[in-house]
Symmetry: C2
Subunit: 391 residues, 2 copies
């Protein structure tokens, strides 16, 4: 195991009707003038936004608001949010929505306290300070409610890139599984896929002797294998939603990823798809992961055989471990299809003829030099082959 | 799953030579005048105390010190520590040692900022504030480095009782697995047992639909089953020590225990043994748990069958689940014996004739009314029978 520092101070408030506590927690963490940041009409139509405003009002907390965050959140709205916060002297950002809303809030939070262009942070500049953030989560997926990470798409060039910093960790996150019961099945499944991707990206490591984090990741994957189909079959199953929601947070707060190298090549490769086609990130991952894993498998057959036996219930073929390893990838692929995720470029709305452009943006865009590093090292040829496997 | 709040803001600094960072982290969390609290001679002889002092000195941080914490830490030294902190205007407590040292530090930290008797907190008074604490951990066991809990023995009456409060959570904890390599095998095994007890106490729940936390607990138990014997066979195995150390912290920071009722009857029943005989808490638990679990088994056979199959590799007997449940308890008992733990009163140094006194203190001491509540409800007869099973 490698040396590490682990610091995850977010206060999680979990369960039924907890959104009514938003005002109380903003106050507890020092907010006096709040920007409520959200996406489209669903939080308005469901009455959630009104309940959150009411709870802020009950604590005497002033607020302004900025809606319009889209999936794969864009830089344009971030600039708008930064200007609004400065103009209104906002001292706390409350994200009401999913990962896109939270990521957009994090970008604004960092940008408000920075004199330069916030995009600098997404090109690698260290984030030293940010406005405090709270969240009211409406989809179990990105794990952004408990993570230091944010992913934004720069509209000039449509680059999708991430930034990270402890200052971006939410002070509190309100997690009411009931809020996710009204999600369309496709979004629920995309969220499940994203959570499982966060687990696989950590599982695929080049660090030896990491039994404790291996087992923790497997535990969360097993939870998703059990609860995913239940919630697709019965969207109103509160208990299944609750198990998925806590698994989603635990999958990405990095308690199961410390002290080990991680992969994240599937995320890099997918980000080009959702940037170009504006598909759901989870749906893109469902198409990407089986191809990436198949490409990576020979790098460490035993690692793929381990997850195949421990999570997917495959019988270990001791004479031919690669058979077991492949069976595990295939079981994952079938699982993703079974919950309604796309299986190839066509179902995703991607086009084979775009592959050169995807590879160019992936390997050369935003200052990259042609090589990607993760569980394995990939060059442009490798990436081309991986995209071709998805067709 | 039940509603819950989860807040675990401790910063963990994990890995080789991290004790040299103690001064840096005390400074980061605002300490200017430190009480270094520790136990016996081992931290002196090993040079650890000197290294910690050197790192405080390098940051220009003043300190005073108080050694002498014993296993099953006593109220007398707590009173002494409170007086010393007040006299020296201490604003930060640095615990260098194991769970006993950390628990003693927490009691001092709460007591310094309280006008009454600190023991009030161990009789149930809510803890609202405490001096900040940091830890340099020297044994993987109690999980106190990441928990809000403290257990102290009151010398008048020898009552061993716990207190809890978020204010007691350490600001940072330094976890260097190499520091645990010099532990005697018996202490290592007692630590392993304590960690597994923290997991079982959470596993034995009356809350339905808790797949995610069930799986997380099982993951940590599986880690202990794998790494425990390795470290007993090879005390210098850094990697096995590292896996156990992180598992010990994760076992007790409650991320795997949220939203579910918990048991803690084994801890209650054991506390009387270590209070009366001054045995190692983990050793007492090794004798206590198999008896308690056997007594509790009929309350929920399937829960014991689940852990038997998922953790202990027992084959499920679908016609007779109680056979599987029993096999799991027996496998755990054999595991504890295999790592060198005692199996009965005699090996622990306890006496059958003391059972009435143990039951009296357990069920009637310190304001209790004769009934204990956990996974099951126990009266004095039940407790007598359980102690008799351990003979």
């Amino acid at each position: 195991m490698n040396n590490f520092e682990y610091y995850a101070p977010t206060c999680f408030v979990f369960g039924k009707e907890t959104e009514d506590l938003a005002g109380k927690y903003v106050k507890k963490f020092g907010g006096t003038k709040v920007l409520i940041h959200y996406g489209g009409g669903s939080v308005v139509r469901s009455g959630l936004l009104d309940r959150v405003k009411k709870s802020l009002g009950a604590e005497g907390i002033a607020y302004t608001e900025l809606g319009g965050v889209k999936p794969n959140p864009r830089s344009g709205l971030v600039y708008e949010g930064i200007d609004l916060c400065k103009k209104e002297n906002v001292d706390f950002i409350l994200a009401v929505g999913g990962g896109s809303v939270i990521d957009s809030s994090k970008a604004i939070a960092a940008g408000v306290l920075y004199d330069g262009d916030f995009w600098d942070f997404y090109k690698g500049k260290a984030i030293e300070k940010a406005l405090p953030i709270g969240t009211v989560l409406t989809i179990a997926a990105a794990g952004s409610e408990g993570s230091p990470d944010s992913v934004i798409t720069k509209e000039e060039g449509m680059f999708k890139r991430g930034a990270s910093g402890d200052a971006l960790r939410p002070r509190f996150s309100i997690l009411n599984p009931a809020l996710t019961q009204t999600l369309p099945a496709y979004q629920t499944a995309a969220g499940i896929t994203d959570i499982m991707a966060h687990l696989y990206e950590r599982y695929l490591t080049n660090t030896d002797e990491v039994e404790v984090t291996d087992r923790m990741i497997e535990a969360l994957l097993l939870t998703m294998v059990h609860e995913g189909p239940r919630v697709i079959a019965d969207p109103n199953n509160y208990d299944a939603r609750a198990n998925i929601m806590w698994a989603g947070t635990m999958a990405h707060n990095n308690s199961c990823g410390v002290g080990r190298s991680q992969d994240w090549l599937s995320h890099d490769i997918e980000h080009e798809l959702s940037a170009m086609y504006d598909c759901a990130h989870g749906a893109g991952l469902a198409v990407t992961m089986p191809a990436v894993f198949t490409y990576e498998m020979s790098h460490n057959v035993m690692r793929f055989a381990q997850v195949a036996t421990r999570v997917w219930g495959c019988q270990m073929d001791f004479a031919h471990p690669e058979v077991t390893a492949k069976a595990g990838i295939e079981a994952f692929r079938r699982f993703l299809i079974s919950i309604g995720m796309p299986k190839n470029f066509e179902e995703l709305g991607a086009k084979k003829e775009d592959i050169p452009a995807l590879v160019q943006s992936l390997c050369r865009g935003n200052g990259r030099n042609g090589t990607l590093y993760g569980f394995v090292t990939l060059n442009e040829d490798d990436c081309t082959k991986i995209y071709e496997m998805m067709v």
